[in-house]
Symmetry: C2
Subunit: 549 residues, 2 copies
Amino acid sequence: MKHKTILENAIKAMRERTYYAQYPEAPSGKIYGETANEDAKKRFETLSQSNFTQLLQQGAAGTVGEESSPYGVPIKVQYPTFSVDTLIQNAQNAQKSWANTSYAQRADILIETLEQMKSLFFDIAYATMHTTGQAFMMSFQASGPHAADRALEAIAVGYEELSRYPVTTVRWDKPLGKVNAVLDKRFYVVPRGIGLVIGCSTFPVWNTVPGVYANLITGNPTIVKPHPKAILPIAIWIAKMQEVFKNAGIDPHIIQLAPDSTQNPITKLLAEHPAIKLIDFTGSSHFGNYIENLPNKITFTEKSGVNSVIIESFADVENALDNLAFSVSLYSGQMCTAPQNFFIPKNGVDTNIGHLSFDEVVQKFADKVKGLAQNPKMGAGVLGAIQSEDTYQRIQNTKNQGYKVILEPQPIQNPEFPNARTSSPLLIQVNATEYEKYAQELFGPIAFIIQTENVEQSVELAKKLVEDKGGLTLSVYTAKPDVKENILHSLLPVSIAIAFNLSGPTWVNQSAGFSDFHGTGGNKAGNAAYTTPEFIVKRFTVVGVREQA
Amino acid sequence: MKHKTILENAIKAMRERTYYAQYPEAPSGKIYGETANEDAKKRFETLSQSNFTQLLQQGAAGTVGEESSPYGVPIKVQYPTFSVDTLIQNAQNAQKSWANTSYAQRADILIETLEQMKSLFFDIAYATMHTTGQAFMMSFQASGPHAADRALEAIAVGYEELSRYPVTTVRWDKPLGKVNAVLDKRFYVVPRGIGLVIGCSTFPVWNTVPGVYANLITGNPTIVKPHPKAILPIAIWIAKMQEVFKNAGIDPHIIQLAPDSTQNPITKLLAEHPAIKLIDFTGSSHFGNYIENLPNKITFTEKSGVNSVIIESFADVENALDNLAFSVSLYSGQMCTAPQNFFIPKNGVDTNIGHLSFDEVVQKFADKVKGLAQNPKMGAGVLGAIQSEDTYQRIQNTKNQGYKVILEPQPIQNPEFPNARTSSPLLIQVNATEYEKYAQELFGPIAFIIQTENVEQSVELAKKLVEDKGGLTLSVYTAKPDVKENILHSLLPVSIAIAFNLSGPTWVNQSAGFSDFHGTGGNKAGNAAYTTPEFIVKRFTVVGVREQA
């Protein structure tokens, strides 16, 4: 096995859950090649104006392409389209050559796709930037090394789960007194069928590859239906996968891209096709609920949710509020893990610099958010651009709904891309009693400061939000160990990832591969978590075959 | 840990999947005590005429009891009833004391329940016999040692899955160049909530305990809703569990029995209660489909299916047909794993004693089935009694539908219980084209001999049956290695357990704990398999808690 060490390191890392990364996150010339960035940038200039012809897929029927850069750069890529029947037929034809590989071969080939992907991390970064609006650094990290690490997670958990069952014949010899009952047994892992992975517009690679690699390691051919506005990053990724498969003697149709358009969507046609057995989905709760309720499908969803911050007291108020200001600003709040609702008691909070009133905490926080957005060295690089016009309009509409506005949204200066669609966060203050106002996901740079009676009410409301709407992260600030324990045990039953007192260079929005689970699968924000055994074992069944010895 | 060796042996056995049993299946005085059988028999005579008062459950509201012995012995047990609200409240109150135990403590206490259950295996056997109609030997084995082994499986897989995550705090230390990002992380297993396990009338213990122990090892309090006609065996089991829990300082309401009556069923009220998060079900496809489609529930089902036998050729025709005759007769076909449809090519089959025509094979098979039923030493002990009047009527109705009857059903002589409700198997011959006739589960001692054009058609129809109706077992007889390989690879994709050429003292109806999976979860006969990791990991989520170090 060529990549045995990589596989073993990944398995070990997930057992220990300490820091580990297979793919370095720094977009550094020393790691990825001194000219890697410049070369990719030039390639992107050509690529973004051309037809995408790198896919090794048979049966194209037409072309689509409607991407536009939130940075205002023209994008003119056209992608081939394929009928649902062609996609299904291609997948079924390819299935056998893949099912015949051993688990070790499968893992090896899949890791090889990641190893070769390294040479395209910068290309994928530019493609991500100019479809999602992420700043360059996040584009590189999220769609490159972080995505590859999450893919490797899926391979590693998959390999472990497949390896549970004896791969050679087992003799079963049962003593019955005078005679023995003797059988020979084999165990076959049977893939569920064809997998469909439905991508989103904001993280077209990071949220797509876990399902793709989980399907493939367990033997299921896969069709990726990207968001019509964010095809290029995952198209580059899949084209490289297909090349690696072909070179390994595997039918490249084991993974296919299924581009469509807003006008002629094929997602439901694919999802409802009886040959599709597995569906991974990232996107809205509305569509996610439709996916989860399709009969005879096994689904893995990440839907919308509302993430809260409970502030009780601060051990390090400056660093904590810096951390929170960064969290609401990062990619302009367009992360499913970004905090939206800040619960602060009306009597203010104790801090390391003395008691601060409610208004003082809010003002300090607003100043930091504003300062970051206006910082010429950091603003554009942290906030990036607004992916869709809908999100941009949501900010304006919310601002004009008569809320008490703490901080007005402002454009972000971006000298490199003066036409970028940008906005600093809108901060709004409401009362705890106005539950229906803040108990909804307002995707984008919009945050609610919620004045509560006391911390008990904050916890109660944050908990209720998880139960009612789901969530991916819950951040808590308290300098008091007993309060921390109480809050922890109050929140655990609703199954949401919890972070206490983040005040350094780690933000609640981030989940680290091999250590943090992304999602829990236990609340309304989705039924899946990267990467638990559950994310893997639902994708196959085990068939025992007995034979008279 | 008191029962560490038992736990480790079970984990090892499941990895190897060779023969293993923790609880000896022989109802032998040497193993279980010389007077165990006689003592239990006497206790049963009292128990079967009394109110069942052994449960340690608070809040009884009335009594029910409508069991009747298929052997014609009067049963007069009355059980306490509990309102749905009382059951839920009891479970919620008990949850905390259980969640606070370590995984090792939990496993220890649960294994202790099995160890102590040994002293009641004979009591449970008589209770099983006089509710289900199983013969004594099966009653003892299925509801005693085999059930305990399946329970131990669930504990073992559960313990393994829980032990994946670090139980102490892990330091995550990420180098960022000049500084490090340092967090402390803990991982909490969060149970899903309250589990409901819905029992069936034919295997009230064996089909109930896997879900019960899977729920409990993963921290979920559990309510068992037994079939109104088969309460006593699982009532004895649960009362013993409650006693063990109480002695260990655990609130015994962590496991509760919820008896009801045919007139006032509470199953749907329980299943639809929002606090019930997990449902294990064994029973009809109709009710099972209702359970699977309940919103916001995680379900584990074993529904009905149709099991086939494909006969191509025999390497050992006498022993093979003896084996099949035993299979259709065992507990009068009232096993979800019993074969119903026998596909035999019209041109007959090659055997070790020369070619036999279709009619010769059928006649030989019918003779063996008849011989077994009429064998005074074996008949009653193999066939037992018919559990319900419905099943008995089904035999008569099917016989009178104008089919070609190969073997008429006859009463079985049972000198010990002259009033037993018994029937030998009804064998019917149909043509392959009459799909709608045999493509339905006719629960009980009813089998179809299906004349096919050739073995290819047999395989095609058996496969279609699995796809259309589901099934738990598929038995194949062929003396030709290449035919075997072809049939195997043709059948694998539909995900059903396959047995080749069984001709010794193992029958397709049986699945051996620690080695065979019961069900695959991959066809319409149900979505669960005893005991895959999937049967366990869906019952909890993992919550990561991060903290600034």
